[in-house]
Structures are given as structure tokens and as C-alpha cells.
């Protein structure tokens, strides 16, 4: 390796750890506050609220959220449950299949729109009308359309990433400087050569940006789709439903600590997939990281 090894304990790392620690401490304190603050002394407030017709028990209060210690406890229990890991696997699988499909279809489609005037004329208006429809609005239609629950969830996740990727590819390919085309044509490039060696690499940075944004949307969509569709209800229970269903199921079953476990799991899974994309992106566009 020509690269010098970076020190592990940089100040950036310390700041990151401090950030997480402060967050956890505040959270724990907030949860404990229900013990410290005697509700009896707020009797007048409760009465006042009841008087105007509000249910005082439903006042938003951080103390209603399980404390991090309780969440950790629930997590340690759930870690031994294969159903929990099955949820991870299902969600990851759905995100990846939807996302990869969006790349496979979206990148060529975007390039086609960018390269061909007639393809743009025919394809773009329909695309623009479909684009504002939120992927979640597709859930009922896709459950009817696709034969299996699994396919309909994958389809909705696919839509989440597809539009962003296409828009970025079209924009990226169109903003390639005309000088590159002129230079390439002068040196005797054929059309296909210009495509493979100018348009494609010139669009790569935009593809990477589109993918990163698309990946975020995919996670949002998959979780919601799992909640709505019952996460492939044929499997039943917490197993096989994906993280979205895991959360929903915990809520229905009254396991509030598990809701937070599910939420944090999604956060971690999303961050991991973004990091993976970043690594791939850096490898694919070496000229961008060097200055």
C-alpha cells in the first residue's frame, strides 16, 4: 500500500464517540425523568387538562420512551432470536434487489434519454408524470399487480430509487462539457467510442450521487411498505417480515423496547449501505478524490 496508514484515534473519531455518548446520556436522563418528577405535584395541570377535554396521560413526554438501558436489554435478548436476523436479511434483500434493479434499468434508461432526442421526447413526459407519485402510493396497485407479496414490495423499493437515479443520469450526461465531445470527435472517435469513453465516465459522478440519494429513499420505502403490507404475512410472527414489520409487530405486541431496537437497526443498516456505496463510488471515480 502506497497510502500512509491513517491514525485510528483521530480527533474526528473522538468527536463522533462524544456525540453518540452525549445523545445516549440525554436520552437516559430524559427517560429517568419520569421517576424524578413527581406527577403528584402536577395534579393541577392534570386537572386543567381534563377540564378542557384532553387526556392528560397522552401528554408527549420523553419519559414515555423506553430508556437506552432498557432498549439495550431488549436488544441483547432479541439478538439470540433468529427471527430478528431474518428481519434484517429480508429488509436488506428487498432494498438490494429493488436498488440493483433500479440501477440496471435506470442507468441505461437515463443515458438513452440523455443521448437520443427522440427517446427523450417520447419517454420523458410520461416519466415526469409518474415521478411525483410517491412510491408508497403504488403499494395497493402493486399488491394487485404482482403475483407475490415479495415482488410487490421489491417493486415499490425499486420505484424509490429509480426516479432519482434516472433524473441524475440525465442531468449528469447532459452537463458534460461540449469541449470533450469536440475534442473526441476531432481525434476520430466513433459514436460508440464517445459513448463508452466520454459519456459513461462523464456521467459516473452523477450516477453515484443519484445512487446515494436513491439508497436513502429505498430504506424509507421498504420499511413503510413492510408495515403496510404486513411484511409478507404468509411467514407470520416476527420472522421473515423485515425490519419494518418487526417494528410494527413489536408495537402491536406491546414490546415498546423492541420498537426502538428496530428503529436503531434500520439506522445502522441504512448507514452501512450508504458506506458501501461510498466505497464503491470512490473506486469507480478515482479522479474525483484526488486533488
Amino acid at each position: 500500500m502506497a497510502l500512509a496508514r491513517k491514525p485510528v484515534f483521530t480527533s474526528a473519531l473522538w468527536r463522533g464517540l462524544a456525540s453518540i455518548a452525549i445523545f445516549l446520556i440525554l436520552w437516559e436522563l430524559g427517560s429517568l425523568s419520569k421517576v424524578w418528577i413527581k406527577w403528584d405535584s402536577f395534579e393541577w395541570l392534570r386537572n386543567a387538562l381534563t377540564a378542557v377535554g384532553l387526556k392528560p396521560l397522552y401528554l408527549p413526554w420523553i419519559g414515555a420512551v423506553p430508556a437506552p438501558t432498557e432498549v439495550l436489554h431488549a436488544w441483547l435478548k432479541v439478538i439470540h432470536d433468529p427471527g430478528y436476523w431474518q428481519s434484517w436479511y429480508m429488509s436488506l434483500f428487498r432494498v438490494m434487489s429493488g436498488f440493483v434493479a433500479a440501477m440496471i434499468i435506470g442507468i441505461p434508461f437515463g443515458l438513452l434519454l440523455a443521448v437520443s432526442r427522440s427517446a427523450y421526447g417520447i419517454g420523458f413526459p410520461v416519466f415526469e408524470v409518474l415521478r411525483p407519485i410517491p412510491p408508497l402510493a403504488w403499494v395497493p396497485a402493486s399488491i394487485i399487480f404482482w403475483p407475490t407479496q415479495e415482488l410487490s414490495i421489491a417493486f415499490v423499493t425499486f420505484l424509490g430509487a429509480f426516479y432519482t437515479i434516472v433524473i441524475n443520469v440525465v442531468g449528469g450526461a447532459r452537463s458534460i462539457d461540449v469541449r470533450y465531445f469536440q475534442a473526441a470527435r476531432s481525434m476520430g472517435s466513433s459514436q460508440s467510442d464517445i459513448f463508452w469513453r466520454i459519456i459513461l465516465p462523464g456521467t459516473l459522478p452523477s450516477i453515484m450521487v443519484g445512487s446515494a440519494v436513491g439508497m436513502g429513499i429505498t430504506w424509507e420505502v421498504v420499511v413503510a411498505a413492510e408495515m403496510i403490507s404486513g411484511g409478507g404475512s404468509q411467514s407470520g410472527g416476527t420472522g421473515g417480515g423485515g425490519l419494518g414489520f418487526f417494528i410494527w409487530n413489536s408495537y402491536v405486541g406491546g414490546a415498546y423496547e423492541q420498537i426502538v431496537v428496530g428503529m436503531i437497526s434500520i439506522g445502522i443498516a441504512g448507514a452501512l449501505s450508504s458506506e458501501l456505496l461510498r466505497v464503491i463510488g470512490k473506486r469507480a471515480t478515482p479522479w474525483l478524490r484526488l486533488r
Binding site: Y180, Q182, I198, W287
Partner: protein, 290 residues
């Protein structure tokens, strides 16, 4: 076989004739003549420099020579054959770098031969030679954003020359470089020219650059562009930077060129050009000094 021959052995110098070329944009009321009835010859094997006030339509002329655009009337010919489209026999170096940022220096240089499927051991040898010649041997694996402004221009020179064009066209290639880098580039560039004596057409607004590089100097009018005067710069080669100050012949031609440019500037100044005002002022100061 010496290194010099490597570059020279395949040189075919072309000659470009521009006859009665006009180019206008827009129609009717919005019609603007950028070039009007312009004729000149870019002579075979010579370094012709075109100098004129900025915004005088030189870049339009370049696009016509490159074949990116067609003239409204008149014709441009390379060796008697009309220029209809861009081709590797007339390669253009633009003001801003057009190196492909996603390719290393080496891949950039080899772009043309690879695009045409003409990568032979000879081409690779020539690529090595050119890398050395422009001082980028240690930078072959670097991407353009990692190169300095001067290195980028040199890489681009090499990328054009490997295609062995009959005419090299350069549109203010060293604009925006700092003064010292610019002088370094003049030396690189004129050394390359002196070695292969290809036909070169070099457009600039810098009078020192023009005098240092040119065999022939075309002085252009303001818009619509026409050739105002042709000066033969008969200063012997190889030239040194010191010539610019010490060589009497250089200075003589420079004053001659400046007075023609001054005349042009006065004319456009009287027509309300603000850019010309700067030139007129600078010129009068310079004349007062000498």
C-alpha cells in the same frame, strides 16, 4: 535513429486556404457579421500567429477551421480539399483544458490512437517520446485535476501531436497561466515546433507571445474580422526569451504590429468599444516610455 526523427518521420504538413469567408449569426434585424470577406493562407510548415483585439471573432474562425461550424459564404480548404467536419488532420487546442478528467495523463495522450484502433508499438514509442518531451514522464498516472495548469496544457499538446495532424490549431492556449509559466510554455511549444516543423496556427492576444513564436504574423481587425496586415517575423530560430528584449528586429516588428493594433483600437474606440480604450491607454504609455 535519433529521438528527433521519431517525431519527424511521419510529419505531413498541410496548408490551409481561407478564401472570402464570411460568418454571420442571426437573421434580418438581428444579423451580426462576425467575419466578413476574410482571406488568408496558413502556409505549409510555418508557425502562423494570428493576433487581434479580444472579442474580434477569432474563436469563431477557429471553429470554422476545426470544422465544428460552416461559413455563411466563402470556403476553407486543407490542401485544396474543402473542410466540412472535424477530423484528426486539423487538431484544435482550446483556451480551456479539454483533457478528459476521468483518464490519466497517459490514457489521455493515447485517446486518439485508441479511438481509431491504431495502437501500434510505434504509437506507444511516440507516446513515450512525447511524454518525455513535454516533461510529464513522472506524471503519466496522474489525473488532470492533479496536474498544474502548465502541465495540463503540455499534456494536451502531446495528446494532439500523437495524432500527427497536418495542421495544429491553438486558440489562446496559454491564456490564464501566470507570466512565468507562460514563458516556460513558449519554450516547450516552440521547441516542439522547431523539431517537427508542422503547420501551426496560433491565435493570441498577447503581443510578446506572438512575436516570440511567429514565422508569420496576421494582424486582425476588430469585428467583423478581416486580416489587416501580414508581417514576416524573420528572427532566426531557435529563439531565446532574451530576444524579446534584446533583439532589435524583434522589437522593430513588435512596434510595427503595435501601431497597427493601435490604429484598429482607435477605430473601434471611436465606435464605442470600452475594451479598446484600455489598449489605447496602455499603448500611449508604452510609446511615451520608449
Amino acid at each position: 535513429m535519433t529521438d528527433t526523427n521519431l517525431l519527424r518521420r511521419e510529419i505531413k504538413a498541410g496548408e490551409i486556404t481561407v478564401s472570402n469567408v464570411s460568418k454571420c449569426y442571426g437573421a434580418d434585424r438581428f444579423r451580426k457579421d462576425v467575419i466578413l470577406d476574410c482571406s488568408f493562407v496558413i502556409e505549409r510548415g510555418k508557425l502562423t500567429v494570428m493576433i487581434g483585439p479580444s472579442g474580434c471573432g477569432k474563436s469563431t474562425l477557429i471553429r470554422l477551421l476545426a470544422g465544428f461550424e460552416q461559413p455563411t459564404t466563402g470556403k476553407l480548404e486543407l490542401n485544396g480539399v474543402p473542410i466540412t467536419r472535424p477530423a484528426r488532420d486539423r487538431l484544435v487546442l482550446f483556451q480551456e483544458t479539454a483533457l478528459f478528467p476521468w483518464m490519466t495523463t497517459y490514457d489521455n495522450i493515447l485517446y486518439g490512437p485508441r479511438a481509431r484502433g491504431e495502437v501500434t508499438p510505434q504509437t506507444l514509442e511516440l507516446a513515450e517520446f512525447l511524454l518525455n518531451k513535454v516533461g510529464l514522464r513522472d506524471f503519466r498516472k496522474k489525473y488532470p485535476p492533479q496536474l498544474s495548469g502548465g502541465m495540463q496544457r503540455r499534456a494536451e499538446l502531446a495528446r494532439a501531436m500523437i495524432n500527427n495532424p497536418e495542421v495544429m490549431i491553438l486558440d489562446e492556449p496559454f491564456r490564464g497561466l501566470d507570466a512565468m509559466t507562460k514563458e516556460l510554455m513558449w519554450e516547450y511549444y516552440s521547441a516542439l515546433y522547431e523539431e517537427n516543423r508542422r503547420t501551426n496556427f496560433f491565435v493570441t492576444t498577447d503581443i510578446d507571445e506572438a512575436i516570440f513564436l511567429a514565422d508569420r504574423l496576421l494582424i486582425m481587425s476588430n469585428i467583423p474580422t478581416q486580416v489587416r496586415a501580414v508581417l514576416e517575423v524573420d528572427v532566426p530560430r531557435p529563439r531565446k526569451l532574451a530576444d524579446l528584449v534584446e533583439n532589435d528586429r524583434s522589437n522593430e516588428i513588435k512596434m510595427q504590429a503595435l501601431s497597427i493594433l493601435h490604429e484598429e483600437a482607435m477605430k473601434s474606440f471611436s465606435r464605442g468599444s470600452k475594451a479598446a480604450a484600455d489598449f489605447v491607454e496602455a499603448y500611449s504609455k508604452r510609446v511615451a516610455k520608449s
